[in-house]
Symmetry: C2
Subunit: 191 residues, 2 copies
């Protein structure tokens, strides 16, 4: 398949099974989602919709939209991969941004994202403890309810730091454009 | 459906029917596509694959990736809508860019796109004669063979100007990153 689509697409399914136990689902802005006891993370589309799936969300990793080279170099020096054995806590944070955000031009979005909100700089402070993978949903073409799904993992001892990271982002000017946000906290047994 | 997905998704089908007659299909770089006598343009997905469809390509309109506010204002002042009655010629130009392009950061891509290649400035010179709609395919998630589909329409008397536009882009530094390009020329009867 072209464009590495199969390796870039991920499905997150709220269900009765799945490797992650749902600790809590908080709705920060906008409509909530249905409860689920567990979360399954699939690389690729969910080919069969299991009977026990409450909801599923898809997203695709893609090229950087805002990061500049100097930032990418700095991030690469500090960041760790997903799935480290000690990272038995995770969060899935689906976000939608408003029409006003999407009507902005690239220079305007970059100015809000970094010059005003320090989105990259804030995330950098919590590396390598908090690993992050961003998935885009807005242009998948089949009506996903969110624009982004961000997946984080970290050790239990870093959950308070992760909350600080979210607090800093949620009080930034960029978040004025977030019109739906769900915070799904998860845990799994250590490997 | 959320995110206006249904109004942003377009399907272009090479077939024996369709409102556009194919004048010629030129393969500029990379693998060719199958011949087709006509082209149908659908708003939305092709819900039924007709027997006579040779191929179909999907793309989704999206937010601006490179345009800055001053450029957007200047473009908006000059551009015309698609489908003017005199625009009986059209072109569909599917393009794929290399992995090297997608590995660049935003600042690097913008520098090649505009500072070095004047992509926006070149297009501006041919407004309002040549109308353009850009569709993204890379993140559709189902393995589209191209990254972009650009749809143009213009009057027959402007086809030479359109060729000049393409010549300017194809000799620009940005085009070193194009690893597949097809140029499909079309005509229809006047309304």
């Amino acid at each position: 398949m072209s464009n590495n689509t199969t390796t870039r697409l991920f499905t997150f399914a709220g269900s009765a099974t799945g490797e992650w136990l749902v600790d809590r689902i908080d709705c920060l802005v906008g409509a909530p989602i249905a409860p689920a006891g567990r979360l399954a993370v699939h690389a690729g589309p969910l080919l069969e919709i299991a009977q026990d799936v409450s909801w599923s969300l898809q997203g695709i990793t893609s090229n950087d939209r805002y990061v500049e080279r100097s930032e990418k170099v700095a991030l690469a020096k500090r960041q760790a991969g997903m799935g480290r054995p000690e990272c038995t806590r995770a969060a899935l944070i689906p976000i939608r941004k408003s029409a006003a955000w999407w009507a902005l031009t690239q220079d305007e979005r970059r100015a809000i994202f970094e010059a005003q909100s320090q989105h990259i700089a804030i995330g950098m402070k919590y590396l390598p403890a908090v690993a992050r993978r961003l998935h885009h949903c807005r242009d998948l073409g089949h009506g996903e309810p969110f624009d982004f799904l961000t997946w984080f993992d970290f050790a239990p001892s870093d959950e308070a730091a992760f909350d600080d990271l979210l607090q800093a982002l949620r009080t930034s000017p960029e978040w004025a454009y977030v019109d739906r946000e769900i915070d799904i906290r998860l845990e799994r047994e250590a490997n």
